[in-house]
């Protein structure tokens, strides 16, 4: 289980997380939704130890991530797959080499690695694309390779950072299906997104991040029926009011 407790994180004077607490149940997809710059990606990076919190506990399987030494952190990362917002594929490597890199580190032999590459590419419906370079792929294909790279490691958790941002509706639906499929394989997912369709499609639980804290958590039905004005406004995509500078320019 992943558990965050009273996590604070600031960058200079900018407070990003102001006491965030969240539990991610095992075997489910938990969606963290919130506006741009609300700290969703920072939360994921804290879970995998790419950033350190200013204070608070970030537990993965009972271990507090900021307390782990380098070797323990490496071992923990072996359990966590991470799908980056822009895929973060190594552009000097082919698709197969991108997936291979993480598998080599786990000491698998060549035959096993080949099998895992084929299997993970089949999972994301990209069989036969092994020898292509990231620059030759569309945005959606790159993100699917990013998922394949994560899935190939057979992790217990996968963290998805804005998996459908910038994708057309059909490709977004493909990504949603992949996230559901990995969940069905028993992988616990944490999905950060501001795409409500993705949130409601893949989420077993949804948490709304607002002003550095979790404003509300619940099932899809609970969130859809919320009476919280902030959450309501977000899921309906309703702007506050006309922005003051815009109002001035209109008048």
């Amino acid at each position: 289980m992943i558990r965050l407790e009273d996590v604070h994180k600031s960058f200079g004077a900018k407070v990003v997380l102001a006491g965030l607490s969240l539990e991610v149940p095992t075997g489910m997809n938990t969606v963290i939704m919130g506006g741009s710059g609300s700290g969703k990606s920072v939360t994921l990076k804290l879970v995998v130890g790419l950033l350190d919190p200013d204070s608070g506990r970030i537990e993965v399987d009972g271990k507090n991530v900021p307390d782990l030494d380098r070797d323990e952190l490496t071992e923990l990362r072996g359990q966590i797959g991470y799908v980056f917002q822009f895929a973060a594929l190594f552009d000097s490597m082919t698709v197969a080499e991108n997936i291979r890199l993480g598998l080599v580190k786990r000491g698998l032999d060549d035959a096993a690695i080949r099998g895992r590459i084929e299997e993970s590419l089949a999972t994301v419906e990209l069989s036969g694309q092994e020898d292509r370079y990231p620059a030759e792929l569309s945005g959606g294909m790159r993100k699917r390779v990013g998922i394949a790279r994560a899935v190939a490691l057979r992790p217990r958790y996968i963290l998805y950072d804005e998996p459908t941002t910038g994708l057309d509706p059909i490709t977004s639906a493909v990504m949603d299906r992949l996230m559901q499929r990995t969940r069905d394989l028993g992988v616990t997912g944490v999905v950060v997104t501001h795409d409500m369709r993705t949130a409601f499609t893949v989420g077993d639980r949804i948490a709304m991040l607002h002003e550095g804290v979790i404003r509300q958590t619940g099932t899809v039905a609970e969130i859809q029926a919320t009476t919280d004005p902030v959450v309501r406004q977000f899921i309906e995509g309703r702007p506050d009011e006309v922005e003051p500078p815009l109002r001035r320019s209109i008048s």
């Binding site: 071992e75 797959g81 822009f86």
Partner: protein
Amino acid sequence: MPLSLATRLQDPAGPVVRVGRWSVEAARALADVPTWRPLVLGQMRRLGVDSVPIAIFIAIFTGIVLSLLSSYIFTGSVPLYYVGALVGKTVMMELGPVLTGMALAGRVGANIAAELGTMRVTEQVDALETLAYDKYAYLVVPRVIAATLMFPVVTSFAMGIGVASGWATATNVLDLSTPEFLKGLKLFYQFKDIWFGLVKSASFGTAVALMGCLEGLATRGGAEGVGRSTTRAVVLGCQSILVLDAFWALVLL
């Protein structure tokens, strides 16, 4: 955002502390041999072999200028065969290593900083870490080892070519005979002249690669940040070369 002068003055030891901390991290990552070993040969080719043409180009013109300059200085006061001595000593002990180092600080330092900087801003470095790799072992150590090993190799080419171009200039332009040039070349030659230059160039390679990695991995802010890191890597690399040059002169001469 670039650091203001006031910020720099408030923390004058900052860069030194940063370099020290990174050097310790890189040294610790040396223990992760299975990660860096397969990458060293490729880096040796990229950073070293691919740099030979620019080193040769510089050496050719350095030899020509040294030969002409020494003849201009010596004519009428010193026997002209001293041209060989000056060309040999200067190319092997100073200009060969330093000019090659400077050129490679531009080529290799910029290459490393731009590559790692782009990897940083596109989250490839983060991706590497999430795949359980140590970024120092995977990115820094192979580049530093390759540069440390290859700078002396490239410099030795430059030394040979520089002396040869000096000889060609002396015999074709200055009417100096080959035996006269060789007489001058052997006059003050010591084996130390060569290893002094090569030891220096190895240290230049370490410094240039470290600066490139340091600045590249510290990149922030997209394309502009990559440009800024690349410039800083080249400037810091050149400054390190000059400081190390003085250091080795003090220690070894």
